[in-house]
Amino acid sequence: MTCPAALGVLLAAGLLLGRPALAQTGPPLPARDLRVEDKPLDAGRALKISFRRAEGDIAGGASGVARYELRRMSPGDTGFVALRSFSPLEHTEAFGTDDVGLSPSRGYLYSVRTYQATGDYADTEPVGPVSPRRQWFYTNKVNTLVAVILFCGLVIAFIQAARRGRSLFIRRIAGLDAIDEAVGRCTEMGRPTLYIPGISTISDVATIASLNILGQVAKKIASYQARILVPNRDPIVYPVTQDVVKQGFLEAGYPDQYREEDVYYVTNDQFAYAAAVAGTMVREKPGANLLLGMFYAESLVLAETGASVGAIQIAGTDAISQLPFFVTACDYTIIGEELYAASSYISREPTLLGSLKGQDIYKLICIILIVLGVLAMTIGAIAQGEPFRWVNEMLRVRGTGG
């Protein structure tokens, strides 16, 4: 058979079998529209790369292209190095990836190679050199910055005002008043007080809030010369609770009453910790359980076991999912923000009270913003044209990244 005849047969077969076979007969074609751009809002360590399929290649594959290979030449390289492959089987018209781990201000060249099943390939024209740039401000976080400056300003201003002797009113918080009563009754019964500073790390600010309360509670207990038990779940919180309780006993004038073995570390495992503390509750029979800080699902194990031994229970947390259980199983519950107000409330130190006032003012600002925003949205919705859409746009919070 002569050559043209063979080709004719092949072509006919290709037509019969459909496009794939036909496409395989042609030479490989390069990918299209290779683009390399700086990835915005980063530390200059990444580039955004995108390209489109070669002509004739369709999404879902079956066109003779075996794979696309992204290749890069870094400064100092002598040639292109394969980075990663893209499959023509993917249901997408264009491919994209971020090339990360680059150095800022150095130039990188890119190219895409189209491979056929036969091993033949075609390259795009190299693009570049492009260098990643670092940015110095998250332009999508202006709102957050304004909020941080405004909030810090308010809090600091009111703390200064309080230092100058402005008297500040603070409303009653029942759960916090009850702490005194609980500790007192506990002492009368000759039972220890059990204090759980939450089960989270110090990276949860709730833990810090709890440690501030612990200082006041320890002082009070020391002044009654009673015992306080502090089982810890976090090994960083543990030394801090030791210092805080020790200081409380020192300030109350009974440093010798402080027992180091009563402030101890149990384990990091959530439920092993819960099992151990539940056991402690049953065996030591504390007169009062103070559960203050961050809690997870073990909250009800602790609260119900505590209730079963007849302890007065005061719980406080900002964990919304656990508050219903504390409200149900404990005598007093300190809800959310009240936990953070606690150390100011108990200590009555003017500097600390000042910050509460600052928080309140900020809260009022939020309330006003909500009212104004809702009005704007409503008028906009009724007027159809949404003339006040910008109000909501302005308040929008954007996450990190793009």
Partner: protein, 281 residues
């Protein structure tokens, strides 16, 4: 009758009595088929069922990925059993994998899949196969999009891919009519994002009740074509199969526990109001 004493003692009821009744309430529905539990089948479960129903018998296999560990087994295993029963009763072949990171999902597979297959006299490697587990779900999902063999060169029982008759025509997702992922973690989402969107695979998801809300947007956008949510979803599926199993039994338990608790609350309040009225009077 002395209501005062009765209600007084009810207010001081030993908590262990409450515990025992809850224990009975949870356990008994698994042994006696009571109370009747009637569910309305949601459209998410219905579409899952319909998609599996439409897979041609003795053809390309339905892919089932066991992406949960024993902690979520109570909710997800009933779905696995129901889906297997559905497939086997219609002579649909089943290919099982597990993308649960610690490999405990594989343990679940070896317990449940052969047992259900035996109910229908289905043969391993012909009517079903279990390829084992891969600890890195996204990497495995992408690899399977190209070539299943690359992700699973040998099955769980160390048989080579090529020696499994079921897999003769299976190269990648193009030959898979649908995947059912049973997940308690973000793996369910990954199925929608990678094989679902990138390779156009039909993704069905069986999820724990807590996790359903997170994945609902994927259903609305069509990236997930069917959802079985929690024990209730399993019970709905069993209703469509007309074969009650652990899902239905579990929902009966739920029902008994819920109403037991409500009765406790109501009785407690009657006792409370009665004694309080006495005290005031």
């Amino acid at each position: 009758m002395d209501f005062d004493r009765l209600f007084q003692s009810m207010l001081r009821l030993d908590r262990r009595i409450v515990y025992s009744l809850i224990f009975i309430a949870v356990t008994f529905p698994f042994y006696i088929a009571w109370p009747p539990f009637n569910v309305e089948v949601s459209k998410e479960v219905r579409s899952t069922y319909d998609i599996i129903e439409a897979i041609p018998p003795n053809g390309q296999p339905l892919l089932i990925s066991i992406d949960y560990d024993p902690a979520s087994a109570a909710e997800l295993s009933p779905m696995l059993v129901a889906a297997l029963r559905h497939a086997f009763s219609r002579d649909i072949r089943v290919l099982v994998i597990s993308l649960q990171t610690t490999g405990q999902g594989a343990g679940i597979a070896t317990q449940i899949v052969p047992a259900v297959a035996a109910e229908y006299g289905k043969k391993q490697n012909v009517d079903w196969a279990f390829l084992g587990f891969q600890p890195n779900p996204i990497v495995a999902m992408m690899a399977m999009g190209e070539d299943m063999r690359r992700a699973f060169p040998r099955d769980y029982f160390d048989t080579r891919y090529e020696e499994i008759p079921l897999l003769a025509g299976v190269q990648n997702y193009s030959q898979i009519p649908a995947v059912l992922t049973l997940a308690s973690t973000a793996v369910g989402e990954s199925w929608a994002i990678y094989p679902g969107s990138r390779y156009g695979l039909t993704v069905l998801a069986g999820l724990t009740a807590v996790y359903v809300a997170d994945i609902q947007p994927f259903y609305q956008s069509g990236q997930i074509r069917g959802i079985i949510g929690g024990l209730k979803g399993a019970a709905e599926y069993e209703k469509l199969l007309e074969r009650p199993g652990d899902g239905t039994a579990g929902m009966r338990s739920q029902k008994v526990v819920h109403y037991t608790m409500i009765i406790f609350i109501v009785l407690g309040n009657i006792a409370y109001l009665w004694t309080r009225r006495r005290r005031i009077a």
